[in-house]
């Protein structure tokens, strides 16, 4: 079989994939939104670095940060960012069982258990962090 010849046959219809291939189908759109959540992950890091810097510079700087964070535009941005970051977390924990096969005493641990373990860890860490911050 002459493989190279068949690949470049000029009469075949080979449509080019459109740039916005992901808009028309719900599952693709959800996928791209999931990927874009990484932008808000990066924004969260920037925002938290601003906080760390403000805290390290003293009470006045910290107050300025608090004022900045209560600015309506900043608040709106952070609400959107929070939604995306939570979306990232949920999709991550739901997909993790598919990517890992854990064996306990020879039997495969069910997916729901792996996902639940992630969610439990999430709840625990969140509670601990909130307690540490709010004191």
């Amino acid at each position: 079989m002459s493989a190279n010849y068949t690949e470049f046959h000029p009469r075949w219809y080979r449509p080019r994939m459109p740039v916005f291939w992901w808009v028309g189908r719900r599952s693709y759109l959800v996928f791209v939104l999931r990927e874009l959540s990484s932008v808000f992950v990066a924004w969260s890091v920037v925002f938290l670095l601003l906080l760390v810097h403000a805290v390290s510079q003293g009470g006045a700087a910290y107050q300025r940060f608090l004022n900045l964070s209560s600015n309506p535009w900043m608040l709106a941005l952070n609400v959107v960012a929070l939604a995306f970051v939570v979306f990232h977390a949920i999709t991550w924990f739901n997909l993790a069982p598919q990517a890992m096969v854990v064996r306990l005493r020879g039997k495969r641990v069910p997916r729901s258990v792996i996902a639940s373990a992630h969610y439990a860890g999430w709840a625990l860490l969140s509670a601990l962090t909130a307690w540490l911050i709010l004191g």
Partner: protein, 182 residues
């Protein structure tokens, strides 16, 4: 073929399920169309042998005495990935297959895993040369549509993510401990 936008096995898809219609049938997406509903699958056929989807044994070792034995638990390790019928619905569903010409694709990687995880196989290192590349697992972004489209429950997306961890762990090990032989 593509039925109402979804990749489907038309031999197992019933018109009655789509009542009252209309129903739209298109050739399988992501493959060149020769004519009407016929697509050319040569791309898949060329990519499949690249991962050596057969049992690879150490040729220098003595021939085994009798069959190679395997426990039911050992078979369970790879059984899911052996269910692939090469229908290529996953290729139709995967956007990376459409975007990247060289991408090996879900079924090929799942079939490579079927042999990598087989206790009788000794070829995992050979396959890593092909799999741990941009055209192999690293092109995959875990869209997950391949698993949704698969009529046999192979879960190629899971196979690929598992292999990413295997390959990454191996890369890390060879980076941190380069003197240790594989």
């Amino acid at each position: 073929m593509t039925v109402n936008g979804e990749p489907r096995l038309t031999c197992a898809t019933f018109l009655t399920d789509y009542r009252p219609g209309p129903i739209r049938i298109e050739p399988l997406r992501n493959f060149p169309v020769i004519r009407d509903l016929v697509v050319e699958i040569g791309d898949f056929m060329r990519k499949l042998p690249e991962v050596k989807p057969w049992l690879i044994r150490d040729e220098d070792a003595a021939a085994p005495d009798g069959e190679l034995l395997q426990t039911p638990a050992e078979m369970d390790d790879y059984k899911q990935y052996s269910m692939c019928i090469n229908c290529m619905l996953c290729y139709s569903a995967c956007p990376i297959v459409g975007l990247e010409e060289g991408f090996l694709g879900p079924a090929v990687i799942a079939l490579a895993q079927r042999y990598n995880l087989d206790s009788r196989d000794q070829g995992a290192d050979e396959r890593m040369e092909v799999l741990s590349t941009a055209e192999g697992v690293w092109g995959c972004t875990f869209v997950g549509e391949c698993t949704t489209a698969c009529p046999k429950g192979v879960d190629p997306a899971g196979a690929i993510q598992r292999y990413k961890l295997t390959a990454a762990t191996e890369s890390l090990r060879s980076f941190l401990l380069p003197w240790r032989s594989a």
